[in-house]
Amino acid sequence: MRILEGEGVTKNFGGLTAISNVDFHVEQGEIVGLIGPNGAGKTTLFNLISAALVLTSGVIRFKGEKISGLKTHQICRTGVARTFQSVKVFSNMAVLENVLLGSLFGRSTGMSSVDATREAMESLEFVGLSAVRAIPAKDITLANQKRLEVARALATKPELLLLDELIAGLNPTETTEAMELVTKIRDKGITIFMIEHVMKAIMGICDRLIVLHHGEKIAEGTPREIATSRTVVEVYLGEQAYAGS
């Protein structure tokens, strides 16, 4: 089943077309990678899905229902959660409070504060942050802040999780741990759509890749297909490099 689907997705900023007529889909249970050079429009596409930005044209569907046109908080409550490229934790609030907001507000149905706290704790346990739950979010490491964003997103009980550069800025050990976390989340039955620059990490973990360049989808396929695709190599290394090799 297609859990997420976009048709003719377009976004103009004034005269600049950031995303141009992109069709894409994510199957339930998949890990799909979204790659492309800087400025390709990857984060813009995520912003369109989560309604941080409004579509210029096209339609986005979640589980067959149109979600483009909904407000950001409504999209979260339908079951699409996300993290941010530049970490956006609530710095002066305790780690637990950050996650608690997710379980209190991110569900389609209300929940008592006791249940919400319990679920927030479970979320923290899952990403391995229970030990720092009482500390203000600004005082934990970047790697942990990224985990915190994941925990906050998971607390909203999503069916689809959008991860925007979870690995960027992490050291090799932290990268491995982050990749393990992604697999663990998928094993819980949550579909994952992730933007990443670290090819080695993304090639190993994704079932399928979508490549954006200048706001257009230029390729789509398994990691193996993408790695050997002529267009993709040209985009990443330049036409000359390919011709000369």
């Binding site: 989560s50 941080a52 407000k71 950001t72 908080h73 979260c76 409550r77 959660a81 996300r82 941010f84 956006k88 934790v89 609530f90 710095s91 002066n92 609030m93 409070e97 950050n98 608690l100 907001l101 997710g102 209190l104 507000f105 991110g106 569900r107 504060s113 919400a116 030990a131 720092v132 500390i135 203000p136 005082d139 934990i140 490491t141 942990n144 906050r152 909203t156």
Partner: protein, 301 residues
């Protein structure tokens, strides 16, 4: 502790001089405005300069309805008029951030001031109005009641999930929306609740002034005072604005009577010093002193 203070405040007019009652009414008025202001602007970081607009709407409600309705209804109407004005204004402008929001809210005060002025001169043909008076003790008790209801409301909001959500809006509004918080609705409703209490205070105060005109009702100082008082007291805790407003109002009275010619100058200097050296207000200062400089950084992982 709280009950004892409340008992003392409730019985105060029985054994104290008239002046104390009047001064305390003024202090309560400023506490109500400052706590209301802090309830919204404190956690969200949206600095509103609209209190004078809401206060003025309360004052005029009192002037218009004072003879027609019983007193509690008049004050309730003053609060409600401000509540609905804030709902409207909030829905329109709470998407503006930073300086734009500040300027818009201040513009609202000027807009209402000049609109009412124009209306009074051109339509009703007056400039001032007489408000039915009800006596200093009555004003005192009403302010006390509004204050108690406000504190209950503010405490409830602060410790509910909505308080947490308001704080998250102040930290990262975009992330708050992505966490499922209906940021627009929450901001607008909190803004309106805070306006309700400011309007009610305005409606009450009008009866003490007996004569009002647009420049008295929509006095821009009413917008600036809560900001200064909240900064002076400290916004982290609910009692910060209370302490700030109390000291400020008393200080103003004291300086006006002792140094009528220099009071504004002294007042200004105190303000500058407070902002320079007390970034977290008096509450922040006492907390720092209590810790005794032993700042323990959190263990990191």
């Amino acid at each position: 502790m709280i009950l004892i203070i409340l008992f003392l405040l409730a019985t105060l007019p029985l054994y104290s001089r008239g002046y104390t009652v009047v001064l305390l009414s003024s202090i309560f008025m400023y506490i109500i405005i400052t706590v209301s202001w802090t309830m919204f602007s404190g956690p969200t970081g949206y600095i509103s300069l609209a209190p004078a607009a809401f206060f003025g709407v309360g004052v005029y409600t009192s002037a218009l309805l004072g003879l027609l309705l019983p007193l509690p209804a008049v004050i309730g109407m003053g609060g409600l008029a401000s509540f609905f004005l804030a709902l409207l204004v909030g829905a329109l402008t709470l998407r503006l951030r930073g300086i734009y929001f500040v300027m818009f809210t201040f513009g609202l005060v000027e807009l209402l001031l000049h609109f009412v002025l124009w209306w009074e001169v051109n339509i009703t043909g007056t400039t001032g109005r007489v408000v039915p008076t009800m006596g200093n003790t009555a004003v005192y008790y009403i302010m006390l009641i509004i204050f108690v209801i406000l504190m209950i409301t503010a405490t409830f909001i602060k410790h509910s999930k909505f308080g947490l959500a308001l704080q998250s809006i102040g930290e990262y509004e975009e992330a708050a929306a992505h966490t499922g918080i209906n940021v627009t609705a929450l901001k607008t409703i909190t803004f309106a609740i805070s306006a309700f209490f400011i309007g009610a205070a305005g409606a009450t105060m009008a009866t003490r002034w007996t004569y009002i005109d647009p420049r008295i009702a929509f006095n821009p100082l009413i917008s600036f005072m809560p900001v200064l008082m909240a900064i002076f007291g400290g916004m982290g805790q609910l009692y910060g604005p209370i302490i700030g407003a109390t000291i400020f109002t008393y200080l103003e009275e004291f300086l006006i009577t002792r140094f009528p010619y220099y009071y504004m100058l002294i007042f200004g200097i105190i303000m500058v010093v407070a902002i320079l050296y007390l970034p977290n207000g008096l509450v922040g200062l006492t907390q720092k002193l209590r810790k005794g400089g032993l700042k323990q950084p959190h263990a990191n992982t």
